[in-house]
Amino acid sequence: MDGASTSQILQYLITGITIGSIYAMVAIGFNIIYNVTDIINFAQGEFVMLGGMSMVLFHVILGIPIIIAFLFTIILVTLVGLIVDRFAIRPIRQPSVLTLIIATIAVSILLKGIAMFAWGKDPLDLPAFSGRTPIQLFGAVIQPQYLWVIGLLVVTVLILTFFFEKTIIGKAMRACADNPDAASLVGINVKKMIMLSFSLSAGIGAIAGIVITPISLMEYDRGAMLAIKGFSAVILGGLGSFPGAIVGGLLIGIIESLGAGLISSGYKDAFALIVLLGVLFFKPSGLLGNIEISKIKRF
């Protein structure tokens, strides 16, 4: 532990921010659905997995150019999100939040099974977008793909901010989150907004899956762990808060990376869970969560 030099710490930080960007995207996906429906969507990790796997299918196996494959993947996974809502969420009669959450667990198992049959059990690789020649920075090594991950998080956040703050559909989704009955009274079709929230979350999950695959490969059962990390980020940042999701995601990534580097890489996956438990014990509203809101939340 005392052997860690500045450049090593820097390396851990950079790796942490990269992986944290992925967790942040997963966390944003959780929050979009949570804000409109009060559901924690346990299939969120599977959207990420499908994103990575579909990209491999389109780009590597079918040889489609990277930008078109990127678009195809997002469209495909967005459609999966839409189908999940249409056939797993909406048909449930007298839905309680708990039954809906259990339905998302079923969906996650189903998607995992389908992916296993479609792509097999071996991890799949995707070429990095801009090659794998590392960039040196103060003794730390930066993969060009790291920059893609961080850059796409920034772009995603900017687009989403514009969507939720400036467009009427985005505002209507926030209105549903605020007060579904009142939203329906001004003519908003709440069911459509729920469908949109699932599609949007799936699309964002797909982006995360596409950019992370060249760094850490992708296999059919990766979704659960990504979902747990993303969920920890959500709770750390404050359930429902977008800035919280970003801060939470980056922090979980950095804690995990530092923990693995300085303590033991064997406990890599434990750090997020320790943080999750810590937050739930000591500050359940999270870092940026609203205490007032956390009081009236059902979970």
């Binding site: 009427i168 505002k171 209507a172 926030r174 209105a175 989150a177 605020d178 007060n179 009955d181 009142a182 939203a183 329906s184 009274l185 001004v186 003519g187 908003i188 079709n189 709440v190």
Partner: protein, 237 residues
């Protein structure tokens, strides 16, 4: 304009409305008074589609709108100002008002929507001052004004108001009642539900008294004010 006949509604198995029949003629103010739990709010919620009815009819301009979903009923030109305001507390005042015009939110309607926003700001100048503020930070009276403004953004022909005077300073109640009268003068038909029976009888043309989910009395508002039973039960002797 709106004709409700033999309407029943239940919460699970408990009857909330028992064979209600009500007539709201075009251009009038009709008020419904009654105690807590009499079924007043339930009746409005059934009309706007938030609560399902069991049998009976709700005919609006020749169409049976019973049990349509709320977002479809708004399209007929029926807007509800719900009980307890129900504004979008985390959104700005401006966004709340814009969302009121959600159904018409297309580029080609931009001028029309801007004119309507101007119109509601003229009606409630305080809202224009507070337009950038988060709606949850408004006072009770301002929130009620915002709820009315939001409902007016969809150009309703029939406005359903659920307890607009609840929890509001008397002076603001007067202001809101004045706005309701003014709206009515400019052609909006109004169905008003109130516990504040005096106010509701004063501005209405026709009134119904609801008790335990049934119509106990009905008549011209002027006559009901002088009805000894109404006086005793609702106007404090």
């Amino acid at each position: 304009m709106l004709k409700i006949s033999k309407l029943n509604a239940y919460y699970d198995t408990i009857p909330a409305l028992k064979g209600i029949s009500i007539d709201v003629p075009k251009g009038k103010i009709v008020s419904i008074i009654g105690a807590n739990g009499a079924g007043k709010s339930t009746l409005l919620k059934v009309i706007s589609g938030l609560v399902q009815s069991k049998n009976g009819q709700i005919v609006y301009q020749g169409n049976n709108i019973a049990n349509l979903s709320p977002d479809k009923i708004v399209r007929y030109g029926i807007a509800q100002v719900p009980e307890g305001r129900q504004i979008f507390i985390h959104l700005s005042v401006k966004d709340n008002i814009h969302l009121g015009a959600f159904l018409y939110y297309k580029r080609r309607n931009k001028n029309d929507i801007n004119n309507r926003i101007k119109h509601v700001y003229e009606m409630f100048p305080i809202l224009e001052k507070r337009s950038q503020q988060i709606a949850g930070t408004l006072s009770g009276g301002e929130q009620q004004m915002l709820a009315i403004a939001r409902a007016l953004m969809c150009k309703p022909e029939l406005l359903l108001l659920d307890e607009p005077s609840m929890g509001i300073a008397p002076i603001i109640v007067q202001e809101i009642l004045a706005v309701i009268k003014q709206l009515n003068k400019s052609g909006t038909t109004i169905l008003l539900v109130e516990q504040n029976a005096k106010a509701a009888l004063e501005i209405a043309n026709h009134s119904y008294v609801l008790e335990n989910g049934e119509i106990a009395l009905e008549g011209l508002a002027q006559e009901l004010i002088n009805n000894p039973k109404v006086k005793k039960a609702y106007l404090g002797g």
